[in-house]
């Protein structure tokens, strides 16, 4: 039994959007989150921790791109979170 199609994204373009948003958005959120952590902890330790947490977080964020029903909310969340996490960095530089 393949997955029931009525619950899946029908348009291939929207599906492509989701994949790209999840990949790129997930990546920027993940990186900015760890950059934020470098303000609190020694950077080399944060980067080393990201070896594990970074890829896991990224994969989860990509996963979420398929679960969120509204595309605009997905895009806004990625952008919003990235900006929010980067705030200290943007202010400092």
């Amino acid at each position: 039994m393949p997955a029931n199609k009525k619950y899946l994204t029908k348009s291939p373009w929207i599906r492509l959007c989701r994949i790209l948003l999840g990949t790129l958005g997930g990546y920027t959120v993940m990186i900015s989150f760890h950059v934020l952590l470098t303000a609190l902890f020694p950077p080399e330790n944060v980067i080393a921790t990201a070896f594990f947490t970074g890829y896991l977080l990224w994969a989860f964020l990509l996963f979420w791109a398929f679960l969120e029903p509204k595309l605009w909310r997905l895009a806004l969340t990625y952008i919003g979170l990235t900006l929010l996490f980067s705030l200290p960095y943007i202010i400092n530089h």
């Binding site: 029931n4 996963f63 398929f66 679960l67």
Partner: protein, 543 residues
């Protein structure tokens, strides 16, 4: 259960899984064998390392190089093999421009140097401390190295697609990340049934149930193991994806500084003085002094800069034995002129947080912290991963074998699955076949192994594809595996007289182990073959 979410879990798991299935199988299969890389090397060369003591002797390497080259002003890097019985040696051209002939800068030499590539005045080779022989990378190449490098798809680097990194490595990284994604979606998909179905296995049910049970039960049991491999796999092969933005944002683009803080490399760039060093430095004495200081550790690397010049520097990197310290790294650098250490980091006491994380990645992926027993456990878990992949492909296929699905789609699905299964199941007989032919051949080097393995694999795949019947593919590969795996120890005995009873008596346990491994696989294949022959309910697709 939320129907929408459930179906999304289902679909994302299916797609990410089927896309990477074939390559992931190659990675798991070759990777599982790579746990025995050193044993395979010993088996192939017929030289056991289980009971030989090979003291490291850097002076010998330098002296013998000195008879062929003028060593003045050169840099040396020694990369020691894991068991310490040999070392890769990289010798640069001299810093002294009166000795080194300035090379015309070509476009190619600017890029990173490929493995084994050299110009006339530098050298890169493998030196064995056991019999003090030297061989080029190509000559020293063995099946252990081949399977190890196949498991991160290094042979695909030949494909000239350059996206900042060799194509094979990039592909292996993407597969590994998608594997992580498939693991997460699979866990969500199966979450509600994890407890109830933990031991659920219904081998007498119809095929699809058998495959589903195999996939979910072994998937759940192997989940922690596979998750570790998905993550550490990405880290080990394409970690620059994660690191480069940090070097840009935190280190202002100074990538070297970041790599130094993560202890991937350490700068040693003394300025060449053009004044010869009065007294020759005894490299062995330096190494032995520090290895006595840190008895519970192994040498991993040795660096020499500006050999024979007053600015000469030497540095030693060590790793603690996992039994003594799980994490840590030792480092000592010294100026040759005064013999005083410039930087010391003990592998025993100075472990940093970064050391901890890196050791975790390294030990968990290589399974080198619990001796052979642990490697066998890792090997079995790795092969269970292969089983999960194969059963996944089968579920994918039969779930789409329905009357309401158009014939052209079913045809495509069948051929895709047929290709994946033939590729995957063909690997064991092809590997055993390569082991056999290698034993019967006079010279074995990289290109020989490449053509032998890949052409026989290709022939195997074509043969299995034209059977056009997955039951037959299974039976034929099982019987071929039985015969060929059994032939491995026999051919080894005939060709080198290293029969299992001889290697047992000589305590050559590494060679014995590989023979026993193949005998075990032969027995298991035979067992599976007879089971399939007797009990298998046949199933037909597209017929």
């Amino acid at each position: 259960m939320d129907q929408r979410k459930y179906n999304i879990y289902f679909h994302t798991h299916t797609i990410s899984g089927i896309v990477i299935a074939a390559l992931l199988y190659v990675i798991f299969f070759a990777g599982s064998f790579s746990f025995f890389k050193d044993d395979i090397a010993a088996w192939q060369k017929g030289k056991s390392l289980s009971n030989v003591d090979a003291p490291v002797d850097f002076n010998y390497v330098l002296d013998s190089l000195g008879t062929k080259y003028n060593l003045q002003g050169r840099n040396f890097d020694f990369y020691l093999l894991r068991q310490g019985h040999g070392t890769y040696v990289n010798m640069s051209v001299s810093q002294d421009t009166t000795i080194s002939k300035p090379e015309p800068k070509t476009e190619k030499s600017k890029g990173r140097k490929r493995r084994g590539e050299k110009n006339e005045d530098s050298a890169y080779f493998l030196h064995s401390f056991v019999d003090k022989t030297q061989s080029s990378y190509d000559e020293g190449y063995d099946m252990g190295e081949f399977l190890y490098r196949l498991h991160f798809l290094a042979p695909l680097n030949q494909i000239p697609i350059r996206l900042g990194t060799p194509f094979g490595y990039l592909l292996a990284g993407i597969v590994s990340f998608l594997f992580l994604f498939a693991l997460i979606t699979g866990l969500f998909l199966h979450w509600d049934k994890i407890k109830n179905n933990f031991f659920l296995f219904r081998p007498w049910s119809k095929w699809k149930t058998v495959w589903t049970d195999m996939h979910t039960v072994l998937g759940v049991i192997g989940f922690p193991f596979q998750l570790i491999f998905a993550i550490t796999g990405v880290v080990l092969i394409v970690n620059y994806v994660l690191i480069s933005p940090f070097s840009k944002f935190i280190y202002n683009g100074d990538q070297d500084k970041l790599y130094q803080e993560l202890q991937y490399n350490r700068t040693m760039a003394p300025t060449y003085s053009y004044k010869p060093l009065a007294k020759k430095l005894d490299v062995n004495a330096f190494v032995n002094q520090w290895m006595n200081e840190w008895p519970e550790s192994d040498i991993s690397r040795l660096y020499i800069r500006n050999f024979g010049d007053k600015s000469m520097e030497i540095a030693l990197e060590t790793k603690p034995k996992p039994s003594a310290n799980f994490a840590g790294s030792g480092y000592i650098s010294m100026k040759a002129i005064d013999g005083k250490p410039t930087s010391v980091k003990s592998p025993k006491t100075d472990a940093t947080y970064v050391d901890w994380v890196k050791s975790l990645v390294y030990h968990l992926h290589f399974g080198d912290f619990g001796g052979r027993t642990l490697r066998i456990v890792y090997f079995v878990l790795g092969l269970l991963g292969c089983v999960v992949i194969i059963s996944g492909i089968m579920i994918w296929l039969v779930a789409r074998e329905k009357p309401n699905i158009p014939a052209y789609k079913r045809k495509f699905n069948f051929w895709a699955a047929n290709l994946f299964i033939s590729m995957s199941l063909g690997m064991l007989p092809v590997t055993a076949f390569t082991f056999i032919v290698i034993k019967l051949s006079a010279t074995v080097n990289q290109s020989f192994i490449y053509s032998l393995y890949f052409y026989s694999w290709l022939v195997m795949i074509i043969y299995l594809l034209i059977l056009r019947d997955l039951t037959k593919v299974n039976k034929h590969t099982l019987i071929l595996s039985t015969i060929l795996c059994l032939a491995v120890p026999i051919v080894n005995g005939i060709a080198t007289n290293l029969w299992i009873w001889n290697t047992f008596q000589a305590k050559s346990y590494d060679i014995l182990f590989i023979d026993m491994l193949f005998i075990t696989m032969s027995i298991l294949s035979a067992f599976a073959f007879f089971k399939v022959k007797k009990q298998a309910k046949s199933f037909k697709i597209l017929k």
